[in-house]
């Protein structure tokens, strides 16, 4: 079981069933929901070809509009379209590097409430805002067509003496 997780560098689509059995059963399944949903659709015999339009605004302010299949996470969509969205833990809710800011509050409110585990990671996200979410937890659905997601701009945040301001 563990070999697959820690073997050679592997592609993003690999199903992360490995993470389900945590020693204390505490953490909910850290499976990339997108992969599960897609597997379900495929299992039903129909391939879900419906896509929505999502615009990413990069750290430099460049806009990139892509089409995202319904059921795919924003993190996976970003990677498939060469958008520089970090995903250190590869969608297992163990980091905050895929932090995205939902530009329009209307779309933010359409998203499912973040779980405790996602909120725990958002606590630590750099440049957190009121409409911040983790990209690996935002799953494309038809109502989100036209959504804009901004990547937090890298600001000169670390002061001269090495002091790190407490994250908000």
């Amino acid at each position: 079981m563990w070999r697959r997780a820690f073997g050679q560098a592997h592609g993003f689509r690999r199903v992360r069933r490995d993470w389900i059995s945590q020693p204390d059963g505490q953490r909910s399944s850290a499976i990339s929901t997108a992969v599960l949903m897609r597997s379900k659709a495929e299992a039903n015999g129909k391939e879900d070809k419906e896509t929505i339009e999502v615009t990413f605004i990069t750290k430099e302010g460049d806009r990139k509009t892509i089409r995202v299949p319904v059921g795919m996470s924003m993190l996976e969509a970003a990677h498939e379209n060469d958008i520089e969205l970090e995903g250190a833990c590869e969608g297992s809710l163990a980091c905050s590097t895929c932090h995205v800011i939902v530009k329009d509050e209307k779309f933010y409110r359409m998203l499912k409430e973040p779980s405790d585990e996602e909120n725990d990671m958002l606590d630590l996200a750099f440049g957190l805002t009121e409409t911040s979410r983790l990209g690996c937890q935002v799953i494309a659905k038809p109502e989100l067509n036209g959504m804009e997601l901004a990547l937090p701009a890298a600001t000169r945040n670390f002061a001269v003496d090495g002091h790190v301001p407490k994250p908000h």
Binding site: L124, L128, K166
Partner: protein, 494 residues
Amino acid sequence: MKVLAMARRASRLGLRFPGRSRDLCTGSDDFGMPLHVCVVGSGPAGFYVAKKLLKRFDFARVDILERLPAPFGLVRSGVAPDHPETKVVINQFSRTAEDERCRFFGNVCLGTDVSLEELRKNYHVVVLAYGAESDHRLGIPGEDLEGVFSARQFVWWYNGHPDGKDLPINLNDVETAVVLGQGNVALDVARILLRSPSELSSTDIAEHAVKALRTSRIRKVYVVGRRGPVQAACTAKELREILGLKGVEIVINEADLQTTDCDLEELQSSRIHKRVFDLFCKSATFTKCAGRDKQLQFVFFRAPVSLLAAEDGIHVRGVHLQKTRLEGSHPRKLVGTGEFEELDCGLVLKSIGYKSLPVPDLPFDHKKGVVPNYFGRVRSSDATNETERGLYVAGWLKRGPTGIIGTNEVCAQEVVTSIEEDVNRAVVSNLKEVPGSVGLESILSEKNKRYITFEGWERLNETEMEKGAVKGKPREKIVGIDEALAIGLAKEKE
């Protein structure tokens, strides 16, 4: 056409023409001279810097030095064994190391095998990202008694760090442990002491540690903080996990959960602290449950005054604490109340912060334990704004020992931006020829120093995973340096 000419000129200088795509400037060695970079330290700080430099400059050649046989720093030796998902970032770091422009040099120590001066002569850019391998001291009597360790030493021990395996820790004759500090590392060490060994035996914990934990008699752990639950430095995920630990009763004094107006102000301005405080409040209402044979007690507003010796004068037997109080406002001051109490224990783990170590020829702020820097550019001294050409710091050595793995991504961006600015302004010039890897290899071969390549690490990695598979573990870490070197340095069969 003018734009094309400018792009070509920029390319000759080895600069990427802003905003143009790759097809206008080749960015290759035909026009651009390589930018030779040496990154010292292969933890998250070093790897994020390497990754971003390789992305930013096609002509970058990055060598990553690591004093241990295995790479990845605290991801391998700091993250707890029961947090495997936090280690997934290793996949990304491996992809960076596998870039043909990147070379890993394991078993090479700055200071012993190569000096900072030599590195600066052989590379255009040197980035020091070797973290913090020492500890803040309490500076109180009894600190050197047996049974008193820093949390870092204990973490290195259970994580199979080569320098931690001989820790003289005795868990068989001890029933109570005191952890000083309430950050995430404090929670890690408390959790490893209290988690059932059978749960730990399927993780990548070091074999000698799980063996010792199986016969451990520790049933009670105190986690002691000088201030209150509003100021606790741990974060929600870790606190949530330890509060839900199977078979462990949580003890919190409800009186410690009273808040003042100042506390409420602090909570309102910090999302992290608010969620942590809410967790403490929720857990205090848990009633005593049957079947919990271990106890975790959070002790607030107690500062350690001295560590008490047993009758033999050698071993620790308790901690002498002074009750504290927060006074004043904006900012509040921590004061002693003149009231004291004692906690009996046979093991003390100090989790009060890591500290970086200086190396010769490196400006260093001994008080803060960091290298003085200006957005990652090393300052020649604390007093001046002059910076050392081509010398940078990243990670804990730059910021102090705080933050999570992801913090290094942002930090690395800042450092790489500084490097980019310096290349653009020709403060650092890749047009000036330096030996790069070739120079380093020559220095090492003169000393007969063999280094482990990334392929060597992959051999070591495979071996660890094979050994672990037999025991139902993700890996069995090879803790002995000699054994690790034997595998890592072995020549590939032709």
